[in-house]
């Protein structure tokens, strides 16, 4: 990263460094003064720094401390359960969807020459319809906000007389959206592979499904791992949407605590710190994985060959990470 950045400018000399140091200190002092008058004072006047509001969250001696953190623990547990379930189901469904779309794409070119004409036409028609339907579903669910998907799931299923636990509405809503995104990530990974992979598989007599399952999909997973991990961060962030269907996840518990103790700013600050800590470490993990992958398993002489997949992965990570983020 630093290597990339420093390409843009010369390394600062002693005079430049002195100027930087002095002006940063001056700016810092200015900022602190500004923060004191614009942020600290108004907050202090309304008593936002009083132990009464912070105590239940940070002071173990407070009477509410144990209860508050017990409730928050429940919320964190629920968030993690929902996130884990949503991640597993969307990975499975997403992989299936990606394989299905690859298969349908392969079948679309098949003419069924050996079969009777009406049957061949029927099969081709079936392929084309299935292809169109999956394409339509992918476009629709990729274009809808997750909030709306979750909301529709929670409202729509009871409409048909199907009721679940709130957890499952959240998981289904998240799965619908994220499996589609993951399917697209995997598909672009499979299409980015060198053509020789599929050709070699066909040459040794693997069926199309075997080719996809045994040759393309594992490689796509490996190449797209950074993008997939970023998508998982998105899933974890999106579980916070459970509050709109009153699933008891972290934010919802936070709201309940606020309802009793009336300290919104304090509770949200603590929750924000929690979320940043977890998601930041996950993002770091994604970065570490990417660095490892771009270095490749065999370094030295194949480095030129390793470049394209890495570039592809980093590019799609940019879009993948932002693709669904709430």
């Amino acid at each position: 990263m630093t290597q990339q950045n420093s390409v843009l400018y010369d390394v600062p000399g002693p005079r430049q460094r002195r100027i930087t140091l002095f002006s940063s200190v001056a700016a810092l002092i200015g900022l602190l003064v500004g923060a004191y008058f614009l942020i600290y004072q108004p907050l202090d006047e309304t008593g936002q720094f009083s132990m009464e509001l912070w105590g239940p969250l940070i002071d173990p001696g407070n009477e509410n401390f144990a209860l508050v953190w017990k409730r928050l623990g429940v919320g964190i547990k629920n968030t993690l359960i929902a996130a884990a379930l949503a991640i597993v189901t969307s990975l499975v469904v997403g992989a299936l969807l990606a394989v299905l779309r690859m298969q349908l794409k392969g079948l679309a070119q098949r003419r069924y020459a050996g079969l009777a004409t009406p049957l061949a036409h029927l099969l081709r028609g079936l392929n084309l319809t299935l292809s169109a339907v999956t394409r339509f579903c992918v476009e629709v669910f990729r274009g809808l906000p997750v909030v709306i998907t979750i909301f529709f799931v929670a409202r729509g299923f009871p409409e048909f007389g199907i009721t679940f636990d709130y957890l499952w509405y959240l998981v289904i809503g998240l799965t619908i959206y994220n499996s589609v995104v993951i399917a697209e990530i995997l598909r672009s990974g499979m299409q980015g592979l060198a053509g020789g992979q599929a050709e070699a598989a066909a040459a040794i007599g693997l069926a199309p499904l075997q080719t996809t399952r045994m040759i393309l999909l594992p490689q796509a997973f490996r190449i797209m791992l950074p993008a997939l991990i970023s998508q998982l961060v998105v899933v974890l962030k999106d579980t916070s949407l459970g509050f709109i269907i009153s699933y008891e996840e972290t934010l919802n518990i936070g709201k309940q605590i606020i309802g009793v103790l009336d300290n919104p700013i304090q509770v949200y600050t603590v929750l924000a710190v929690l979320f940043i800590a977890v998601n930041y470490s996950l993002s770091k993990l994604a970065q570490a994985v990417q660095n490892r992958l771009s270095r490749g398993r065999r370094t030295a002489n194949t480095s030129a060959q390793q470049l394209p997949p890495a570039a592809l992965a980093s590019q799609t990570e940019g879009t993948g990470a932002t693709g669904g983020g709430v």
């Binding site: 906000p145 909030v147 979320f275 980093s314 932002t322």
Partner: protein, 235 residues
């Protein structure tokens, strides 16, 4: 299905409101995001740290929490975000000028959140410019600003367009959250209102709302695919 026709004006006004906030938030996020991106690649280490901290904070927070902070934190600071009541602009975007501050709070939250992603999209474009270009510019004696303005940025746009587009699409989708934070009358809140308060049948309303969002996201996505394919050919 008749609800789609009978309540067409409700859907249309919801769509219009969502479009308004998306338009304003996109502009705000592009401006703020560019500033943060310049901070992140600037030669001054403290500014770099500031940009990095901003991006790491907002990229790892759920938008929900940012929204809560805007809705609870700003009033605690004694602000109703009145600085957004820009004369002239509040006539076109009437919700900017109303007494209820929720539209402005939601706008601030969306801008702050999206700016972090815009910054990353722009930065990925800058990183895609071959290092030799910036090195050549430096060896000609161009300063950092000249280097960016004349050499690096003009070449980075092409690589930034697609990521920027997906950031904007994601932002349009994220804007569905504002209906749950006191903004009355946008598409997502319309769904809630029509089904629970208005007693309308659920399925037609869901279809109407979905169409509203898909009108905004699908064409933009298709356009991006096209651009991406053309760029792949050009490369």
């Amino acid at each position: 299905m008749s609800v789609l026709i009978d309540k067409f004006d409700v859907f249309a006004s919801g769509f219009w409101l969502t479009l308004q906030i998306c338009f304003l938030a996109a502009i705000g996020a592009l401006i703020l995001g560019s500033v943060v991106a310049v901070l992140r690649i600037s030669p001054v280490p403290p500014l770099r740290a500031l940009g990095t901290a901003y991006v790491n904070t907002f990229r790892n927070l759920p938008l929900t929490i940012v929204m809560f902070f805007a809705a609870f934190g700003l009033p605690a600071l004694g602000s109703n975000a009145d600085f957004l009541r820009i004369p002239g602009l509040d006539i076109v975007f009437s919700r900017l000028g109303t007494d209820l501050p929720y539209f402005r709070f939601a706008l601030i939250a969306l801008v702050l959140y999206t700016a972090a992603f815009v910054c990353e999209a722009l930065r990925s474009g800058v990183n895609a410019v071959p290092a030799g270009q910036a090195e050549a510019a430096r060896s000609l004696g161009l300063t950092f600003i000249q280097n960016l303005r004349h050499v690096v940025l003009p070449q980075s746009w092409t690589a930034s367009v697609v990521p920027l587009g997906s950031v904007i699409i994601a932002m349009i989708k994220n804007s569905a959250l504002i209906g749950f934070f006191g903004v009355i009358g946008d598409l997502s809140q319309t769904a809630d209102q029509l089904t629970s308060a208005g007693g309308e049948p659920f399925i037609p309303v869901a279809i109407g709302i979905s169409i509203g969002y898909l009108i905004m996201t699908v064409p933009l996505g298709a356009l991006l695919d096209r651009v991406e394919r053309r760029q792949a050919v050009a490369r």
